[in-house]
Structure formats: C-alpha cells, structure tokens
C-alpha cells in the first residue's frame, strides 16, 4: 500500500477527526504493530483514536464506503493476535474512550466506555462496597472493550462467571456505522439473545462503544488454603473431591513442579520446590460460611493425599500464596529467553492424562513445559520455554503448541478457554469444527457485516485456510486422532 494512499485516507479521516487522532507516521504506527502475541507483526495503514461514539460512527461509515478493513483494539493485551493490524486497513483504538459514565448503586451496575481498564472499574466503585468480578491476569492493563471481545475469564470464573455473565448491556456501532443496542438490564430481552454472540466475537460483529457491567458486593471474607502434593493426579482428584462436597471455591489454581520452581525463584512465596503439584484454593463469602468451609476443604485435601496443607493465617499470607501464582508467567519469562502460552480447556478428569501427554510431547520436541491450571474450570495453560533466537525454534514451539491443543480436543476439551482464536489458532479451528459449522460462523458474521470489513482474517478460518491446514497435517492419509469424537 503506497504512502500516497495512506496520506489520502488520513486526509479523509481528518475531515472529522482531530489531526492527532489520526496516526499516519510509520514511527508512531510501529507501536500498534502487534498485541500480546508479539511473534506476529503487521503495520496498519492508519491508526484512528476516536474520542466519542459519533466519531466511531463516522469512522465506520467511511471504512464501509471505502471497504477498508477495521481492526478494533483495546489495550492490546490479547495473547492470540486478535488485535494484529491488517496491512491494508485501519486500527480503531478505543483507548481514548476511557470514561466511567455512570455508576448506579441501587441497581449495582456501571456504564463505562470500552477503553476503561478492567481493574479501574473495581477501583472506582470500591468505596461503595462493590466490585466487577471477572479478573483476567492482565486486569491492570486490559480494557473492558477487549474483555467483551474475548469473553475474558480469570481466576474466579468458576464461582463468578466469565465476562458474558457480568455484562448487562452493550451499545455497538455496526459495520455500516449504525448503532444497535443489546439491553438486558431487565434480565431478559424478547427475541434472540444476541449478547452471547457479541461477547467473545473478537471484534468481528461490531465495535462495542459502551458497556453496562454488573457490580457485586465485595465479599466480607476470603481465605486461602494450599495443598502440597507428590502427584498431579492426586491434586486433580482433590479438586473433584472439593466439588463433591458441594463447595464452589472462588478460585482453585494448580501449578506443576516446573511452574512452582520458577515462581519460587522469582517471588519467594515459600512454595515447596520439591512438590509435584500445589493447589491454591480460595473461598469467599461471609465470615461464618468461609470459616466453616475452609476447614472442610483442608480436610478434603488431606484425605486426598496432600503431603502438607497450609492455611494462610492472615491477609498478608493469603496474598503471598497468590503472589507466586499471579507471577507465574513473568517467573517463567525469567528462566527462559521466550515462552509461549497455550490456552486449552479439558474436562478436569482428563488432567492427569493430558499432563502426561504434554510431558511426552515436551520430551519429543526437546522443549521444556511448565503448567499452570485453572483447576476449577479445566483451563490449562502450558507454558512452552524456547529461544526465538535459535533458528526454527519458534516454528517448533508453535507445532508443539498445536499438538497440545489437539490433545485437548481429543480429551473432549477445546482449543481456547479464554485467550481467543485470533490469528494464532485458526488452524486448530479447522480441526475442532466441521466445514458446515464453520460455514455457519461465516453466515452469522455476514448477518452483521456483509462486506466483511471487521477484523477480517481472524477467529474463523476460511475454507481455503482449512484446506491448506489439513493438507499440511494429514499424514499417510490420516488426520491426527482419527478416532476423535468431537464433544
């Protein structure tokens, strides 16, 4: 795309946007070349930074007229390349639209612009005794608009749900620049329920310009117990045993030995470095309830074969227990030049089998893997350690990652629990979904965006892409896991 074309388009956008809201200098555009998945990079034609809804509408009208691809972007923390720019399109950054418009104490909701950071919502309503529950690990930085696009999760999903479960209404600018709203503040809407379609649609069905979030009362009490295990299987079974007691923990996280060691070296949380697995289980609620249940959980862990249990004696120790888990990714980053985070989900009962499979693949590829696991909801994050400076190692890592995801599908799971498909998992989508199912996704997309200008090339692979993928991955005329029964 020529510099002239860039200049011509920039001039068109400056007819209604302030000059500084149109980024067209290559040096400035460089900041938008990638999101959290930095292995993929592309320079967009322009980056646009609207300040309000009407500017978003004007931008979309012009893009619609020009059939320009539009990649919307929040804080750029996506781990799947969802905000990777299109070389012949614009990046629509919602970063300037970062105001909390309204907080309603009585109905426990807040209306916010898409660029508001996840954690900023909870901080703004803390004095009212309320908070916004979903807490993806990137919550300091990630924006609510991005959370909606990805249906972001977090460590408290088992009890408090995903982004979808905590959204009451959306205002959306469609591909043609017209506004539509999905309003479920009344806990119901007649007609089709479009909220689950929009939430997690990776910017392909519209530009979210206003979000009404549900707020919850801050739990009065939170306690954490840690179980130390000499096998991952016992740790996994203990999670099932806790649930069998009728307890839904606020969070249950598991780490395997390599992850424990990396975290301990980094934050000194006093983790047992010889353990094969640790479970960190948090309960929250009223003091009476939590105190009764935490004892029960500790007993269940002991019965499940924990070689040691530790009950955090105070808030400082609770945060210390969590510090290692929350720092697991950067901790792994310290011991390896690069790491690649995988995001499969599996039925919990398959944990031991999947981890054994991951270990085998890790040995086969000669790449170490550390595992952190949202054990309550089955979301597994193997972190593959590699060095991008070694010729071919990134490709090898991606292949290993793909094998791990296929293992998740094989065990009745899914290729992405919370990071999204983006550009990263298009190939695996060809395995998880049949051609007819993928066609249905494309047909739905065209209901919202007939010209296919919103985030083209992401999330849903084209027929051609799958033909290419399958040609590459069919060996001896057989697909991997031919016996595979898709859930």
């Amino acid at each position: 795309m020529s510099q002239t074309r860039r200049q011509q388009l920039a001039a068109r956008f400056r007819e209604f946007l302030p000059s500084e809201s149109v980024v067209d200098q290559p040096t400035s555009l460089a900041a938008y070349e990638c999101d959290g998945l930095s292995a993929y990079r592309e320079q967009p034609l322009l980056v646009l930074l609207p300040g309000d809804v009407s500017q978003v509408q004007q931008i979309m009208r012009l893009c619609h007229e020009q059939r320009l691809p539009v990649v919307s972007r929040g804080a750029g923390t996506s781990l799947s390349g969802g905000a990777l720019p299109h070389a012949e399109g614009v990046v629509l950054s919602l970063a300037k639209m970062n105001r909390i418009l309204q907080v309603d104490q009585l109905s426990r909701s807040a209306v916010v612009e898409p660029g508001v950071r996840n954690l900023a919502i909870s901080e703004a309503v803390k004095s009212r005794g309320l908070y916004y529950a979903p807490d993806p690990s990137s919550q300091i930085a990630c924006s609510i608009g991005g959370n909606v696009a990805e249906n972001a999760g977090g460590v408290h999903c088992l009890k408090y749900g995903l982004t979808l479960h905590n959204i009451l209404a959306l205002k959306v600018v469609g591909a043609d620049g017209e506004i539509f709203e999905i309003d479920q503040r009344a806990l119901h809407n007649d007609g089709y329920d479009l909220l689950p379609l929009l939430v997690g649609s990776e910017g392909m069905l519209g530009i979210v310009v206003e979000v009404t979030v549900k707020l919850l009362p801050i739990p009065r009490c939170a306690r954490v117990v840690m179980g130390v295990f000499d096998s991952v299987e016992k740790a996994g079974d203990s999670v099932a045993a806790i649930i069998a007691e009728g307890i839904i923990p606020a969070g249950v996280e598991m780490m395997d030995n390599p992850a424990i060691r990396a975290a301990e070296d980094f934050v000194h949380a006093n983790y047992p470095v010889d353990a094969e697995a640790i479970l960190i289980c948090e309960l929250d609620g009223t003091e009476e309830e939590v105190l009764a249940q935490i004892e029960l959980v500790e007993q269940v862990l002991k019965n499940g074969g924990a070689v040691e249990t530790r009950l955090a004696k105070d808030e400082a120790e609770r945060l210390l227990f969590w510090s290692g888990r929350k720092a697991a990714f950067p901790a792994v980053g310290r011991i390896s030049p690069d790491y690649y985070c995988i995001d499969g989900t599996i039925p919990r009962k398959s944990l031991a089998a999947v981890l054994a499979g991951v270990r085998q693949l890790s040995e086969q590829y000669g790449l170490p893997v550390a595992n952190v696991f949202h054990a309550g909801d089955g979301n597994l994050h193997p972190l593959i350690l590699y060095d991008a400076n070694n010729e071919g190692e990134l490709e090898k890592t991606e292949e290993l990652g793909s094998k791990i995801l296929q293992l998740c599908i094989h065990h009745g799971g899914t290729i992405t629990g919370e990071h999204g498909v983006g550009v990263e998992k298009l190939g695996e989508m060809c395995i998880q979904f049949s051609e007819a199912e993928r066609n249905q996704f494309h047909a739905l997309r065209e209901c919202f965006d007939p010209l296919k200008i919103l985030n083209p090339g992401k999330a849903i692979p084209t027929l051609a892409r799958c033909a290419e993928h399958n040609a590459m991955h069919v060996h001896d005329g057989k697909l991997p896991f031919p016996e595979l029964e898709r859930f």
């Binding site: 806990l187 009362p217 799971g413 899914t414 199912e437 996704f441």
Partner: protein, 356 residues
C-alpha cells in the same frame, strides 16, 4: 429409587424427516412435552414430536456438567441431579409433567433463582443442533471455559426452536444448598419492596429469591447453615414455610385467573409503573407479573421509555402480538440470523415475530 431415563436416539430419523420437509417446502412446529406451547405466537404447521429423543449422553457430577438429549423429561433429570446433590441453578419451571430439556432451553424460561444465579443462557455450555438443511452441527462443548468460535449454543436459549431442532445440550449444574430459609416482611407498596430489595443487593447476603405481592415481601436465603442463620439474624422478618415451587410453577392464587397475564420486564430498581394493578414482583424488581386487561400497545410504549418490555404471556386476545416489538433494523438482523440457520424457514416460523 434410581431414576431411569430412557436411552433412545432418533437423530437419524429426524435428519431424514427434516431433509424431506426442507425439500417439500412445508413448515413444522417442534413439539417436546407440549408444556410450554402456549408461550409465543400460535402457528399453523406440521407438528413434529421430538420427545422420544432421550438419554443421558454424559454426566459426571464432579465435572459439574450434564449432557442430555433434548427429549429427556425435566422432572426426571431434576430427580437425577437431586440424587447427586446437584441442581439447575436457574430453577426452571416445568408447567407440566412432560416438559423436556429441549423445551426448557428453547423457551429460556427460568424461575425465582434466575436473578441471583443467572439465566439458562448463562449455564448452557454446548449444543448439538439439526439445522434447516438437515445438517447436524455442534457448538460450544462440555467445558465451562470455551471461546472457540461464536457462542452459537447460547443463542438457542429463548429462540423458541426457530433456529433448528436442539438434539443435545450440555448444561452446567451447581451443588444443592445445605439449607434454605424464607423470610416474610410487610411492605404495603410495590415501591417500598423494590427499593428495599435493591438496597439489600449491595450487601453480600445469600439471597436466592425475592417476591412481592399484596403488601407482603418474601426473601429466600440459601447456603451453609452458618451463613444462612447469620444472615437471617441480620435481616429480621418472619420465618415462614416456603412456597417457591408454587411461585415458579405459577400455581399461586394470583395466577389462577381468567384474565390475561402479562410479563413486564424492567431494570430491577425501576419504580412501580403500574400502581393500582394486581402485580406479583420477582427477580428483585426485574420481572413483574400483571394480571388483568391492559392496553398492551400503550403499555409497551410506556415501558419502552423505561428500557422495559411486555410479553403477552397467557390468555391474551389472539390479535395481541406475544412479544415486545423489535425495531425494524433489529427485526431485519434477527430474520437474517434465522435464515442463516434455516434458509427455507421451516422451523417454528412466526413463533417469535412475523417471519421469525
């Protein structure tokens, strides 16, 4: 007594049947147990009974997920869940002994706990669907966290079968509570109740249902013995025998009437817009049942201004549109969505809106 749910698949027969219907240009009405057939517009179409498609595909209580063929009877599934000390979080009404899982999902109707635990939509994890081309499609899965592809499975909730025949559905289940307690209070006006119950929402009380009718409020508390006892001590009120099944199944005297029954949906803290009318208010103020003759069109206009809507739920005149009208643009979008699943418009056409 162990629950015995019939294990019969008629998937192949349904596929053949739908392919033939699609080729002939006929229209069909999907029938499960028939208990919720009153809900939505009446349509003239060939009835197809899918209730024989029954069986538990997968249920491991520790995974908190159950996968069922859509013809399973709701009553039997709930009995099975109870055996495992689990339940559906959304407290679905049956409205009849034969109601099925498919009908439960398609109608999207939920009971008193919905405002506190979530809707059916929130608990559906995956579906297997027979579309209007006679294709079997699967979306979502059997795991709680899954963002691969658009979330088509949840779109089926409340779609009243207009997008296809639900063959199987995976639903998240939750543990039974250790204990429950119902408290009653005198609140003369609906507004008193609405304000009070929404103010309570800012405190972490274990509330799982609320109700106001005829000058009296009720709250249900659920959870651990200690938690419920402690909350009850703080909340005061009179402890009473629970009647939540009657609320859920609409068996209270309030519902036993020859008059039309309307369902008014509003953001929960909205003040009473219908003073003087006989009302029963649930869901912390978000669902307000109205019994009696009303000017539906005028009331819909008034409610729309307050972000609300009205569904002509039961016993309304035949010419009253059942559901709150959509804007022209939204109707067009929803018709396109229907066409993408059901291009010839064979499934329950007109059940929701004209052409939908």
């Amino acid at each position: 007594m162990p629950v015995d749910i019939p294990d019969v698949s008629i998937e192949d027969e349904l596929r053949t049947q739908i392919s033939a219907v699609a080729a002939s240009g006929a229209e069909i009405e999907i029938i499960g147990g028939g208990s919720k057939r009153f809900y939505g517009e009446s349509i003239e179409a060939l009835p197809i009974d899918v209730s024989a498609h029954s069986g538990i595909v997968d249920y491991d209580p520790a995974e908190l997920v159950i996968t069922l063929r859509a013809g399973c009877k709701l009553a039997e599934v709930e009995a099975l869940l109870t055996e495992q000390r689990q339940m559906f979080g959304f407290e679905p009404p049956r409205f009849g002994a034969d109601s099925t899982i498919g009908g439960m999902v398609a109608s999207g109707l939920a009971g008193p706990r919905r405002a506190y635990a979530g809707s059916i939509r929130d608990f559906v994890l995956g579906v297997k669907l027979l579309d209007g081309r006679g294709q079997v499609l699967q979306f979502g899965g059997r795991v709680i966290k899954n963002v691969a592809g658009f979330d088509v499975s949840r779109l089926m909730v409340g779609a009243l079968g207009t997008l296809g025949i639900i063959l199987e559905v995976s639903i998240r289940v939750v543990p039974l509570f250790e204990t429950e307690l119902t408290l009653a209070y005198e609140h003369e006006s609906a507004d008193q109740h609405i304000r009070w119950v929404n103010e309570l929402g800012s405190e972490p009380y274990p509330i799982t249902a609320s109700l106001w009718h005829d000058g009296r409020s009720q709250l249900r508390l659920s959870g651990s013995e200690q938690g419920v006892r402690h909350a009850a001590a703080l909340l005061g009120g009179d402890s009473i025998e629970a009647g939540w099944v009657e609320v859920k199944e609409q068996q209270l005297d309030f519902f036993d009437s020859a008059e039309p029954l309307s369902r008014v949906s509003l953001p929960p803290a909205t003040p009473d817009l219908l003073p003087g009318n006989p009302q029963l208010i649930e869901w912390g103020g978000a669902r307000r049942w109205l019994c009696g003759e009303v000017d539906v069109a005028a009331l819909r206009d008034q409610l729309a201004g307050a972000s609300g809507s009205l569904c002509a739920f039961r016993r309304h005149a035949a010419d009253v549109p059942r559901f709150h009208p959509l804007s022209a643009e939204m109707l067009k979008l929803q018709r396109n969505i229907k066409s993408s699943f059901d291009p010839a418009g064979i499934f329950n056409r007109g059940k929701l809106y004209p052409g939908l």
